[in-house]
Symmetry: none
Subunit: 178 residues, 4 copies
DNA sequence: CATGAATGAGCATTCATTCAT
DNA sequence: TATGAATGAATGCTCATTCAT
């Protein structure tokens, strides 16, 4: 699954061949089929593992008792940290989350993860700290920003200094706060 | 090229076969090879045409003499308008702009288009209207936001009312303004 | 189709590979798929052509106005002649007519051909020239005999002299006549 | 071997996989290779066991001292009985006796069994009870008939009543008797 | 002796590309 | 210039066979 993730993240699903995955995993091509019925089953398993890993990461040490501002900051740094520490997983999730080969379980689990963000944003709107704009739109703005920032960090166009990260977090917060 | 754009945008490069493009274009498969050396040459030509179209669209009626705030608003609505009116072109650009089959000319021309945004952001920083944060990062934030908003509009999860668009523009502006 | 028939007749469906058919037909492997959706579609097309050819052969110069005895003789020699002149077609039909890959059209067309024999046998029973035994059983006896005789002729264990053929025809007739 | 016979009879040699046989036999796939060098060695062993079983069955209670007519009747009912009681064995023998994977021992042993029939027919010809037609041809006629009758019984198109069986035996006898 | 995970050659099938018409 | 039939390399996948346990 690690070998597959790496290739799927770098080239996408269609451009990744099963023999290449096998080579990268240092197993025979047939071995893959002992564990996954299809190439599609494999990509779904990889996707689900990524989503779960991301989801756990986000909720780890989540400051449930702090205010919205603090929680936003937590999520921002968790996303950035995940993108930094799990480069392939993050770039795979970001690029393939609309792919036609994802099965319903993959879609559900991904939606569930996003619901965590949605709930956060809705809570913020309720207490009048976050703007009264459709939640999907708010999420789109910050998620889009995260994704592009992560790309820049990955490509080393930006380097992850504390000061920069704090500025970027502030930018994102200013986009949604009242 | 229109036939190809439609298919590339909907299915991606690898999942689009040359015979399918030919069928969609109502020409013989061989005819495509009279105009493009490869499938890759075709996709690059399509990409470049999209970038140019996007670029022209952005600069059309650009309020050079207005202030940064007004220019930002212009760009925001131009991007949203382009995404609405050129659904395939925008979704193709957004999804394929990191693809491994893009040649250097495609990458250059895309970069050139982004430079227009970069210059705008740098001008804004100079006059102290836009935050003093690396330009790439500022761009990432607003571009990421645009892309995700465009996805929501395309999928009809949001509908493009004046009020909503104004709010979203404000969100994006607040992310970068001083 | 000729190339495929030859191989299917000699080795059966599963033991015949598409590349081998292509080689035998002196075409590229992909070419086969321009004309037949599947290997199964090909084998069905071949089967149906064989059935039709056999069926036409049987009915050619059929002595409709003669008596049962004469008609039996006609059928016997037509079957033997077909088996001699269309070695592959006959051996393919004989060995594959119960195969699980045959589609409903193949099964129908084969049944239709057998109905010709069945009608003949039933007419014979009606006029009390052929024994009053279930038609399927009568058919089984003579068809089984034909098939095995054809095998011997094909393998050159017997040679097709007039005298021998007349004797064999008599044997078969004696098996079913009153 | 029982597990293999069942599968070979139902699906043929090529369509039966070794793991499936192992599953059906409730052993590990590797275990099969402790007893048979190849899949081919297995199918030959199965074939030979079937031939021997058939052969013993035919000769059991063989009325050596009775006349040809009585012996013919014995053989007919033994064949029918074997086909009824050893469905898989008979259908395997019938369908695979020309298969290209049979080794020389299989072919010899099968020929030996047929020689029993041949001797019987030759004896009958000597005493002028059976027609003076090449033995192979006589055998082909009755063997072909048996095979097709057995198919009908197996498929329950005919049911094995005493009266019917006696009629069919008479048909077969009339095909070869003087 | 029994196992079953691992293997990789070989299969059916697809599709970018060519080239005779 | 346009065509589309033909191609064969490359793909996803299967399965007979091996071998460490």
């Amino acid at each position: 699954m690690d070998a597959a993730l790496e290739l799927f993240a770098e080239r996408g699903f269609n451009a990744t061949t099963v023999p290449t995955i096998a080579l990268n995993a240092e197993v025979g091509a047939g071995t893959i089929y002992r564990y996954f019925e299809h190439k599609e089953a494999l990509v779904n398993a990889v996707f689900q593992r990524c989503v779960e890993s991301f989801s756990h990461h986000l909720q780890e040490n989540y400051p449930s008792d702090s205010g919205i501002r603090e929680q936003f900051r937590h999520l921002f740094f968790k996303v950035v940290g995940f993108a930094r520490d799990h480069v392939y997983a993050f770039s795979f999730l970001e690029s393939q989350s609309n792919a036609p080969y994802l099965d319903s379980k993959s879609i559900d689990i991904f939606q569930e993860m996003m619901d965590f963000f949605y709930q956060f944003l809705e809570e913020g709107k309720k207490v009048n700290v976050i703007r009264s704009v459709p939640t999907e739109a708010l999420f789109a703005i910050v998620y889009g920003a995260y994704v592009e920032i992560a790309k820049l960090l990955r490509k080393k166009i930006l380097s992850e200094s504390d000061q920069l990260m704090n500025s970027l977090e502030a930018c994102c917060w200013d986009a949604v706060r009242v």
